[in-house]
Symmetry: C2
Subunit: 397 residues, 2 copies
């Protein structure tokens, strides 16, 4: 029997308890062992829960119980989640989590601590919720040089964009509806401003390239400035605007960014709608691989956490991957990243012609001229764009 | 250093050698070990190949060399591929393969032999080519009860169907073009009649449900009877016809089948076109997860084989999953499987009304009436359909 403790009895934490209970037979058949929830740490009491007798309020009870070999951290936030995880690892307990905040900020430290203590730190649920993507990226694609990852990594923003694209709603209206449906939080900043997607692309990049870039160093643009006119222009030209987390290998250096991008209709990511996430991984041998599924939600996320628990219960001895911290030399300056751009301007086509020389016109309406540029460095684009009055501009995927 | 031998220097075998050579640095970084190709078994000589000095013609040289710890079987066909694999496992060598024929017919035997000899038998490349799907299904979704798998598992037939759907070509014309482009073989039976897809869905079902059903017991319908009229009727009604391998859990029993099915446009599998494969897995906690990528091709397939090699080189000691043979009691009789049906008939709508009572009319043209039935058991459908003159009928996904 493998004894585990769950930290936090919120949405994900209670989902973990449910998945373990509901699928106990299946899990037992897989690993020939039973998973027993010994403790659930939460500040609150849950007298009506079937797990009421597992609730404890003091982390030290878990930490000092040698019978607990795996800790599932589902608290969210950086502290004390990081501290509890570190302490558990140092006590020889493996840790699993869905907490992208901790993994993106401190994953390198915790992977090192895990290795030093002969235990494991796994976080499949931190990216893509229930979609298996981190483990396949690290194992099934192990024989590949990863060239590029592009991901729709945040369900809330994808829902909002789908409402704008399919039903012509403005960003403000779509956001309000997402909040009413419970897809977006009262304070939607982490989703809408791309912060959540940024943490996730940092984690994906670390697995692909072995180096963890701090989210604060990643150019991150959210979706709040996308106008309905842009959505329509893009759509008429055969693109869908999606919030894309991108990690690229450019001549051995990393380029990591989050921004709304125009995804051509020929790319299946353009069809990943509503709260679904989609991650496209390009390897030098595998070519394009796409993973699609619900990127959030209680049960999908919990099922990924429990899969990590099952993995550790079945084989506690495997070496974790290690990450170095990315430094300036590992990164491509964002000015040097090459892309084609969609631009909407109030300037005349003549002004555009003289600023950009080459371009493909998309539309002229309501005094707005929109066009697509050839591929060029961001620095070159910024210089050319400064010569006209730009309303909005997005990279083309 | 891990020494391996490759059996067969055809498309996949030479791809394996190329991936190992090309990505040797990346592989070394992953596992802290080097993969060395010691032998390549083939009846032919390859004097101009960079691997010419590795070629041997006698399997016993490989079998009796204790330095070889992993054998990559890329011969294709059941014999002698199965026999060589079994002998290698019995000699304490792990075996990896892309050979779906062997895995679907003899996977249970080889997994058992591997376990008995403390080595591993892996076959990620046997389904979906370079798409990571078997390992994620077995590990990342381990905490799920798998309800259903639906897969576009054969690139050749998907290419032909895409040509029919998008360009209005007949089956015969599309097949001829696929042969000219090298996507279909001169004898296209294994692809066109669904035999290849059948082997793959048997492997997926075995991983999901732990029981291997022999391909000969699986109801398998190919694509050669799909008419352009059916494709058009389906398209106008919001469906794409795809060759779908399906494995379902119905009250604890398995239902496995291969047939052309109408996939609604709201299902992303309907957008998986050309030579791409797509596999949709529904778990009771994860909900729908979709894996998409190139299901064939030298480098994608080879990259999956090499990932298995890397996995074993990094951790030779993990227990393999074991499969039982499925018997009659494990299977749902195909007559009992419930589905809605698309039907095209030369009978009058009155005759349809009296045979089916309920239905949704799709179109009446060229003397053909097409309609969709409510969901019903196959036995009930067959009885009703026997009262009219059916030109074609397909299940709706």
């Amino acid at each position: 029997m493998t004894n585990i403790a769950i930290l936090g009895f919120g949405v994900v934490g209670s989902g973990i308890a449910e998945v373990i209970t509901q699928n106990s037979e299946i899990i037992k058949n897989k690993i020939g062992d039973e998973i027993n929830i010994k403790y659930i740490l939460d500040l609150r009491e849950f007298p009506d829960s079937p797990f009421a007798d597992k609730i404890v309020h003091d982390f030290n009870i878990i930490l000092n119980d040698d019978e607990v070999s795996i800790v599932a951290e589902a608290m969210g936030g950086l502290h004390p989640a990081f501290d509890f995880s570190e302490q558990a690892l140092k006590k020889g307990k493996s840790v699993v989590t869905s907490n992208k905040h901790v993994v993106a900020e401190k994953g390198d430290v915790l992977l090192k601590t895990a290795a030093e203590n002969g235990v494991r730190y796994l976080f499949e649920a931190s990216v893509g919720g229930g979609i298996p993507v981190l483990r396949p990226l690290g194992t099934c694609l192990a024989a590949n040089k990863i060239n590029e990852i592009n991901g729709i990594l945040n369900g809330t923003t994808n829902y909002i964009l789908t409402q704008m694209i399919d039903f012509g709603k403005t960003f403000e209206v779509a956001l309000k509806e997402a909040q009413m449906k419970g897809y977006a939080e009262a304070n939607p900043t982490a989703d809408v401003d791309g912060i959540d997607a940024c943490r996730k692309i940092c984690i994906l990049a670390a697995i692909a390239f072995g180096k963890l870039i701090n989210p604060s160093e990643v150019s991150t643009v959210g979706i709040s400035n996308i106008r309905l006119n842009d959505v329509k222009n893009a759509s008429e030209a055969g693109y869908a605007i999606k919030l894309i987390g991108q990690a690229k290998d450019i001549n051995g250096k990393m380029s990591v960014s989050v921004a709304p991008r125009l995804v051509p209709n020929t790319n299946l990511l353009s069809k990943v709608d509503d709260v679904f996430n989609g991650i496209l991984v390009n390897g030098n041998a595998s070519d394009d691989i796409i993973f699609i599924g619900k990127g959030a939600g209680k049960m999908p996320t919990a099922s990924a956490v429990v899969a990590d628990i099952v993995d550790i219960a079945g084989r506690p001895e495997i070496k974790n991957q290690q990450w170095a911290q990315a430094d300036k030399n590992d990164l491509v300056p964002s000015d040097d990243v090459v892309s084609a751009y969609y631009v909407c301007t109030t300037s005349s086509e003549d002004a555009v012609k003289s600023a950009f020389n080459e371009y493909s016109a998309l539309s002229l309406k309501d005094g707005e001229f929109s066009f697509i540029t050839p591929a060029m460095k961001k620095s070159a684009f910024n210089e050319m764009a400064s010569k006209i009055d730009v309303i909005s501009s997005f990279e083309i995927l």
